[in-house]
Structures are given as structure tokens and as C-alpha cells.
């Protein structure tokens, strides 16, 4: 079993850099795989496209999913994750700028495990990232592999 990979689905390189910085500052050293749009995320998860040949049985420990993504948006990605037997139990945290009520409702309806709005203030951003990492990577017991 791969050592607790974090799949970060994020199209903005600055957010990517800040999130990784925040993770590292919180002493979370897990491998972070970055998918820059919805298609790439799905390819990674199902071993298709650019990731063909990847063992799709190897699931990430946590998926950080932005909503506003090129090609296939975050909600569509979530829907596909939940629809597939291989991925339906994966913890998915929506990590996004939006706090529109509709986004929250749709995300939870599609089976998101958590919804965190990215704070503007970096100290709060850091705190949020740290808590997420601690909770989902350390405290939380994932579903056993089938």
C-alpha cells in the first residue's frame, strides 16, 4: 500500500504552491499528486489517459478537490468518484474559494466528506490545511480496501 498519497485537484499553480507550503509547514510530508483539471484527476484515479498503466487499486488517502476546474468541474469529478466501486469510499474534501450555498448543497448531495472554504488570510489558510491533514491523514480511519 502506497504511503498515504494526497490527490490535490487544483488548477491554480499559486494555490498549489501555497497549499503545499501550508502542508509542509504543518509537518505533513505525504506525497502530493497534483491534477490540474477534472480529466487529469479522473485519469489518475482510474488509470486512464496520461495515467494509463497506473495501478488504479492504489488509492490516495485524501482528495482535496477544487470546484472550479477546467474541462470537467469539481462536482462532476465528485460524481464520478462516488459512482465508481473503486473510489466511492474515498474521503473527498471540497477545498474551494466559493461559499455559495448552492455549491455547498450540491457537494454534500454528491457525497463530499467535508467542505472547507479557502481563507484569504494565510494564517487561517495554514490552520485549515493543518487541521485537514491531521484529521484525514492521521485521525480518520479510512474504509478498508476491498
Amino acid at each position: 500500500m502506497n504511503n498515504k498519497i494526497i490527490l490535490m485537484v487544483e488548477d491554480n499553480p499559486r494555490d498549489e504552491a501555497l497549499t503545499i507550503r501550508a502542508l509542509r509547514k504543518s509537518n505533513i510530508v505525504n506525497e502530493v499528486v497534483v491534477a490540474r483539471d477534472g480529466v487529469e484527476a479522473l485519469d489518475y484515479l482510474f488509470g486512464t489517459g496520461a495515467y494509463s498503466g497506473r495501478d488504479s487499486a492504489e488509492n490516495p488517502q485524501l482528495i482535496l478537490l477544487d470546484l472550479k476546474l477546467p474541462k470537467v468541474n469539481g462536482l462532476q469529478v465528485l460524481e464520478r468518484i462516488r459512482a465508481d466501486e473503486r473510489t466511492k469510499r474515498l474521503p473527498v474534501v471540497i477545498f474551494t474559494s466559493s461559499n455559495e450555498e448552492e455549491d455547498l448543497i450540491k457537494s454534500y448531495n454528491l457525497g463530499a466528506n467535508s467542505y472547507v472554504r479557502k481563507p484569504v488570510e494565510f494564517e487561517q489558510f495554514l490552520e485549515a490545511t493543518k487541521q485537514l491533514g491531521l484529521y484525514w491523514l492521521v485521525l480518520n480511519e479510512p474504509a478498508p480496501d476491498s
Binding site: 494555490d15 507550503r21 474559494s97 466559493s98 455559495e100 484569504v120 488570510e121 489558510f125
Partner: protein, 539 residues
């Protein structure tokens, strides 16, 4: 009606009459009967006659005065007999009357109607004149000439005749009025057989131009449905009503409201069709105009609605984009400023570090501003879900959050219990968040924060107040309080975006309530009202 036998008292009256006369009347007698029997029967006939019968002698003295005469002249026979006939004529007729009888006497004619029957008048003993129809006859018996006048009171008949004359006048009037309506009659072959003045005026043809022609050839009629169908209906029901298009003599097409009535002969066979046609072209034109304007209006409303929906959608997309995309760069500016502070700490002097902190603080303010503007936009367009909201409970939760964020603050918060209001729970939550948040903010410099929430019913609406002992405000600027981006305090005194109270006002206005405030250096008191709604159900 005629009595066969005369009651005894009448018989005696007639007998008395005879005795009173100087010369007993000689009634014709049948050979088979005795003179008495014959006389008595005759007397009975005379007395039971409907007409007044008066017999006079050559000197115009009354010899016989029957019962009808008594009634007519209001005079008993006893009184009348022996009197001159003149007595029962109006004064003015008396002289001519005598000569008339004289003249009649000389003609030798046995009987004739008097004076064309029309101009003869009688006079009752009470002086009343009345029209009579009279005939006179003469007989000579025993060398004496007797005249018998038979009279009928025609007052009633004349009255009836007068009424009839009036009726005819009225009918003539009505016929004239009817002439204003275009009426025509066509036979069953659709040939026009009657054409009145009204039709002439409306269509422009004189009767002689259209009679015997078919109405179709004259009017070039356009029927709303097959003419056979119309005729079938006419024959089934006896009438038909509908709209036709006719062409007038001048070539102009008119819309007529046509009313057809089927005439049948005495054997119930269809004979002719009466048509009354009214020109309703103008009315139709006006109606069409109204319809057209209505359609135009509906189209315009639909267009505007579509435009509005499109604008709304665009606004939503815009808001979403603002919330999502505008925040991201702020987060990056903030995050990388922090990274700079941490990673390049040695390269920056205190001033440089201070500048970076200002940059970070500015991004926070802008983020708050974005959130507030978005909230203001959202409260304006979100749907209202009205219910009974427990405001005391909402307020308590908000105060708990404020206290948790600022645990060192000494605060005395009094929230009246059981306050409810009818409205959208989420939006009223935003109202309380803003008002209580403001109270909390503006009391931050007091040793002890005092905040009080109260509510009461005033003139049919719920009025709530939130009072604090904070910085207050100058009442001179009270009208600016609820304006968007309006601030009454300097940013270095109290932070804020100037959107909170505008949001409060918009929410309360959407609920049909009012919002106002009182301020002094000792604090502020904000009021808002909500209409009481009986139709709001409790949860």
C-alpha cells in the same frame, strides 16, 4: 241577459208610466194576444234593453223612459215622464235639436241615425255631458206622431278609440325608429323583397336598386361559416345571429352584426328571412386595436421578463465569479506576502516587513468587502421563505459566537426571551448578525459592553430594538446610516465596509418592515419592524 219575465215591481212601474201619460202608448199587438199581454211584454223588452229608449210626443214631451235611460241620465222614469226631452240635452244643443226632430218628422222616413252619431251629446241630471250614439224613429198612432229615440252612452268606446289612436301614433313613432336600423327581408331564394330606409342609409342603395336581387350578389357577403350551415341553424331554431362581412355600394367592406329571423306562414312553412344588420366595423376595429395592444404588451412583458431573467442569470454568474475568482488573487497576495516575510526575513528591514503586513491586512479587508457585497446582492435576489422565527434564540447564538471570538470582553447582554417574528429565518439571522455585530464592535472601547434586545407590538406591527452603550453616532448623519458604503466612523476607529446596515435595510424592506435608529455619544439604538402575518404558520 235578457229577462223573459219582468219582476212585479217593474211591471207596476211601467203600468204607472202608462197611466201618467196623457195618451197611453200604443204598443203594437199581436192578433193572438190580448192587448194587455202584448203591452206588458213590450214594456218588458223596452225596460230590459241595454240602450236608453225614450219616446216623446209631437210636443217633445217624454212618454216612455226605460230603465237604461234612468241609469244613463240619473233620473227616475217618474221624474222624467212628462218633461221635455230638451232637459236631457246640453244647453247648447237644445235649439238645434228641436228643429232636427222637426225636420226628421217632415222626411217621412221611419228611422235614421242621428247626426252621424258622433256629435250628439246627452246631459245627465248632475250636469255631466257624455257622448251618445242615437237613432230616432217615428210612428203615427191615433193621429199623433210619436218619436222614439234610442241612445247609447259611448263614453267608454270613445275612450278606447282614443287609446287606439295613441297606440297607432306610438307605433308610427316606433316604425320611424325602426327605420334607423337597417332591415331587409329576403325570400327563400335569397332575393331581397323588403329594404327599409335604415338599410338604404347604411348600404347606400335605394330599395329599387336591390329589390329582387340576391343578397349575396348585392353584398358580396363573406360568411364566417358555410352558408348552408347557417341556414340549417336558422331553419332549426328560427333565428341566427352572427357576424358577416358586407360590401357597401361605395365598395367599402363593413362588418355587420347580423340577426336573422325566419318567418313562417300560417301553415308553419318557412316563407322569408328578416335580417337586421348593424354596422360594427368601428367596434371591431377598436377591439382589434385593443387586442393588438394587449398582445404587444404581453410580448413586451415577455421580452422584459426574458431580459430580466437573463440579467439575473448573468448577475448570478457574475457573483459566483466574484466570490470565486476575486478572492483567489487576494489569497495569493496574502499567502506570498507571508512567505516573503518568513523566507526572506533577513533581507527585509522593519519598514519592509511593516509594508508586507499592510499588504496582508489590505487583502483581508478586500476579502471582507467582497463577502459583504455578495451578501447584499444575495439578500436582494434570494427568495423569501416566510415562517415564524425565534429571534431571541437567533440572537443568543450570535452573541455566543461574538463572545467566543473576544473572550476577554466584559459584557452585559440582555436578550428578551420569546421574541418571534414572521420572516425568512436566514435573512433575519443576517439582520441580527449585523445589528448585534455592530453593537459588539462599537462597544469595544467601553469597559463594560451593554447590549439589550427588546421587542413589542405597536400599531399592528412588531417593533424590535437593539440598544448599546457604544460610540453612538451623530443624529445629523442618521439618514446616511443605511446607505451602501456609507460609514460614520473613521476606519482607524472602527473597521467596517459600510455594507452591513444597507443589507439590514434591504432585508427588512423586503419583509415589508421599516428600520431606523437613534444615536448619541452614549450609544446607539437600532429599531426594525416586521408586519404581523396571520397566515404565517408556526413551525
Amino acid at each position: 241577459m235578457s229577462r223573459k219575465k219582468l219582476p212585479p215591481e217593474q211591471r207596476s212601474r211601467l203600468d204607472r208610466q202608462e197611466q201618467n201619460s196623457h195618451n197611453a202608448a200604443n204598443y203594437p199587438s199581436a192578433d193572438q194576444e190580448t192587448a194587455t199581454e202584448s203591452q206588458s211584454r213590450l214594456a218588458g223588452i223596452i225596460d230590459s234593453a241595454i240602450d236608453a229608449i225614450i219616446t216623446i210626443n209631437a210636443q217633445h214631451r217624454i212618454l216612455v223612459f226605460n230603465r237604461a235611460a234612468e241609469k244613463m241620465f240619473l233620473c227616475s222614469a217618474a221624474e222624467a215622464i212628462g218633461q221635455p226631452l230638451d232637459r236631457f240635452l246640453p244647453e247648447r244643443f237644445r235649439p238645434s235639436h228641436s228643429s232636427h226632430i222637426q225636420g226628421f218628422s217632415q222626411t217621412g222616413v221611419s228611422s235614421r241615425a242621428m247626426a252621424g252619431a258622433r256629435s250628439v251629446f246627452g246631459q245627465r241630471t248632475n250636469g255631466e255631458e257624455f257622448p251618445i250614439e242615437a237613432s230616432i224613429s217615428q210612428v203615427e198612432t191615433g193621429g199623433q206622431k210619436l218619436f222614439t229615440v234610442i241612445m247609447r252612452d259611448v263614453t267608454e268606446r270613445e275612450r278606447a278609440e282614443e287609446r287606439f289612436r295613441q297606440l297607432i301614433e306610438t307605433l308610427k313613432e316606433q316604425t320611424k325608429i325602426l327605420d334607423l336600423a337597417p332591415v331587409l327581408i329576403q325570400d327563400l331564394n335569397a332575393r331581397i323583397v323588403f329594404w327599409n330606409t335604415g338599410a338604404e342609409q347604411m348600404y347606400g342603395w335605394k330599395a329599387e336598386e336591390v329589390l329582387e336581387k340576391t343578397s349575396l350578389s348585392v353584398f358580396k357577403t363573406e360568411f364566417p361559416r358555410p352558408v348552408e350551415e347557417i341556414k340549417a341553424r336558422l331553419f332549426a331554431r328560427g333565428h341566427w345571429e352572427g357576424e358577416l362581412v358586407h360590401t357597401r355600394r361605395d365598395g367599402e367592406q363593413i362588418v355587420v352584426a347580423s340577426h336573422w329571423v325566419l318567418h313562417r306562414d300560417e301553415n308553419n312553412n318557412p316563407k322569408a328571412i328578416l335580417q337586421i344588420n348593424n354596422d360594427i366595423t368601428e367596434r371591431r376595429r377598436a377591439e382589434q386595436e385593443v387586442r393588438r395592444l394587449n398582445e404587444e404588451l404581453e410580448q413586451r412583458v415577455a421580452d422584459r421578463t426574458a431580459e430580466l431573467q437573463a440579467a439575473n442569470k448573468e448577475l448570478e454568474a457574475f457573483s459566483y465569479s466574484v466570490s470565486h475568482d476575486l478572492r483567489a488573487p487576494l489569497r495569493h497576495i496574502n499567502g506570498f506576502s507571508q512567505a516573503l516575510l518568513e523566507d526572506c526575513n533577513d533581507l527585509l528591514d522593519e519598514t519592509g516587513k511593516e509594508y508586507l503586513r499592510e499588504v496582508r491586512s489590505a487583502t483581508q479587508e478586500m476579502a471582507q468587502l467582497i463577502d459583504d457585497v455578495l451578501q447584499l446582492a444575495r439578500v436582494s435576489r434570494s427568495e423569501l421563505h416566510r415562517e415564524v422565527v425565534d429571534l431571541s434564540d437567533l440572537a443568543e447564538k450570535i452573541i455566543a459566537k461574538l463572545k467566543a471570538r473576544d473572550s476577554t470582553r466584559q459584557a452585559k447582554v440582555v436578550l428578551e426571551e420569546g421574541l418571534t417574528g414572521a420572516g425568512d429565518k436566514r435573512l433575519l439571522g443576517i439582520v441580527l448578525e449585523n445589528l448585534l455585530g455592530n453593537a459588539w464592535k462599537f462597544t469595544s472601547k467601553r469597559t463594560i459592553t451593554k447590549i439589550t434586545l427588546r421587542g413589542n407590538l405597536q400599531d399592528g406591527e412588531h417593533v424590535y430594538s437593539i440598544e448599546d452603550n457604544g460610540a453612538g453616532f451623530d443624529m445629523a448623519f442618521a439618514d446616511k446610516l443605511f446607505g451602501t458604503f456609507q460609514r460614520l466612523h473613521r476606519a482607524d476607529e472602527f473597521e467596517g465596509t459600510g455594507i452591513g446596515l444597507a443589507t439590514v435595510q434591504r432585508i427588512i424592506h423586503r419583509h415589508g418592515g421599516r428600520v431606523w435608529a437613534e444615536g448619541s455619544p452614549e450609544g446607539a439604538k437600532f429599531y426594525f419592524s416586521l408586519p404581523t402575518r396571520k397566515d404565517v404558520r408556526h413551525e
